[in-house]
Amino acid sequence: MSATNQSQRESTAARNLAAVGDNASDRRADEAAVAYGVFAAIRWALVRDLRIAVRSRAELGVQVLFYAIVVSLFPLATSPERNLLQTLGPGVLWVAALLASLLSLPRLFASDFADGTLEQMAISPFPLSALVGGKILAHWLATGLPLALLAPLLGLQYALDGAALGIVAFSLLIGTPILSLVGAIGAALTLATRGGGSLLALLVLPLYVPVLIFGAGSADALRAGLSAAPNLSLLGAGLLVALVGAPLAAAAAVRIALD
């Protein structure tokens, strides 16, 4: 391991420690933590991961730029013809969101796993699934939400009208949390494996298929003159199922990785 890598890891660890206990709100969180409850755990992990996200915002910026670039490539590869772009638009915005989510997934556990924070979480009296849930929520706020907010702007490149832009943004708003939730399982499973990145894609992308279909399908339905409501309802149902199941599965996968 190179010296730079070493020092980088140390600085990450220091940053994480600093994020854990450097001001009054943390001390309040610590006092609340005595209850060892689910919500205290979620809040603690959420606040901590958001703080780390804010302090490493350059990485988040890169991820958003990746999204914008991928979306901008498709017209160059196909044609700038308005009708075609309007057909492609929602699908491109969604596929790019899938890829951007995939790129950001390793951030979720990898550095915590490398510096031992994850192990401390696992042996803490808090329920691990709640801590993982908080981390997932922070991950979505830092990586999924910006995509949903940016989508209407990028959709203008595809000559989408107001209604279509709204539906795409709304479907991304419901859909990207599912990507973070389901992706967390894959991210935890691929901790400490060889060939992490491409393996993660192989595991997670097939599981993303329903989200992609219902998400991109909602704008398609609108174009076809149908209601987008069934698609959005199914997406919402998927979100509820993922909310219940995914943190448990991801926590189980984290424990396996820590063995």
Binding site: L199, P206, I213, D220
Partner: protein, 245 residues
């Protein structure tokens, strides 16, 4: 006699060795019988001609491709809940056969589609979800190969298998939904209205053959896995020496 005894690899190893040839024999006999019914006895379809006869391989393999994931889920739950080594080994042994069955179903489906639909590939709901199932099998096998410690690989694969089992019906449903929304290519597979009894018989015999084949192959493969994993165990030396003498 306590059946749980056979959850120990040492107890299961000889049993698997004794049973595998019988299942293989049964599979061979049923395959010959099923192919005879399918290719000789069954009448030519008046719409599809001879091309339909590929269903005698296609349908059983498509059934097995989905059923094997279910069986893997069963073993995975056992492996996670009871922490039994053999359950995880069974799940591991099933995965390659599942991937093969999925591949055969897709491949034969393409060759059936060419003369019947005029295209090798259409974005039909079943074909699409079968393709995604193939990716899931590949993902599972890749995950297994990416983890060095076999016990950790067992449990990681078990979690992924269970997550996949929850997702497969959702994937199937979503693809179907997508397909109806798009009114896809002009092809649709509405099952042949009334199949001749011999066609059904041929298909069922072939499906049974696919079961027996799968069991035989999995028993042989699980024996290899047991040998590989338990190579340090004393009973392996003892049984191998006993066989040699």
């Amino acid at each position: 006699m306590n059946l749980y005894r056979f959850s120990a690899p040492a107890a299961f190893y000889p049993i698997a060795g004794a049973w595998a040839p019988w299942f293989a024999l049964g599979a061979a006999i049923l395959t010959v019988l099923g192919l005879y019914i399918g290719f000789v006895v069954a009448p030519t379809d008046f719409q599809q001609g001879q091309a339909y006869r590929i269903i005698f391989i296609h349908v059983p393999s498509a059934w097995m491709s989905m059923f094997i994931w279910l069986v893997m889920t069963f073993w995975s739950i056992l492996a996670l809940a009871l922490n039994t080594r053999l359950s995880a080994m069974m799940a591991q042994a099933l995965a390659p056969t599942g991937a093969w069955m999925t591949f055969i179903a897709l491949w034969t489906g393409a060759f059936w589609g060419r003369p019947t639909w005029g295209t090798y590939w259409a974005w039909d709901a079943r074909m699409t979800s079968e393709l995604i199932l193939l990716f899931l099998y590949f993902g599972l096998i890749a995950l297994r190969n990416a983890i060095d410690d076999p016990r950790r690989a067992d449990r990681a694969c078990a979690v992924f298998t269970i997550v996949g089992a929850v997702n497969i019906p959702i994937i199937y449903f979503s693809v179907q939904w997508w397909n109806t929304l798009h009114q896809g290519a002009s092809v649709s597979l509405t099952a042949a209205p009334s199949m001749a009894a011999t066609m059904v018989a041929g298909m069922l015999v072939m499906a049974l053959a696919a079961w027996l084949y799968t069991i035989a192959v999995v028993l042989v493969r699980v024996r290899t896995i047991i040998l590989e994993r338990e190579r340090g165990a004393a009973w392996i030396d003892a049984s191998l020496i006993a066989r040699r003498v």
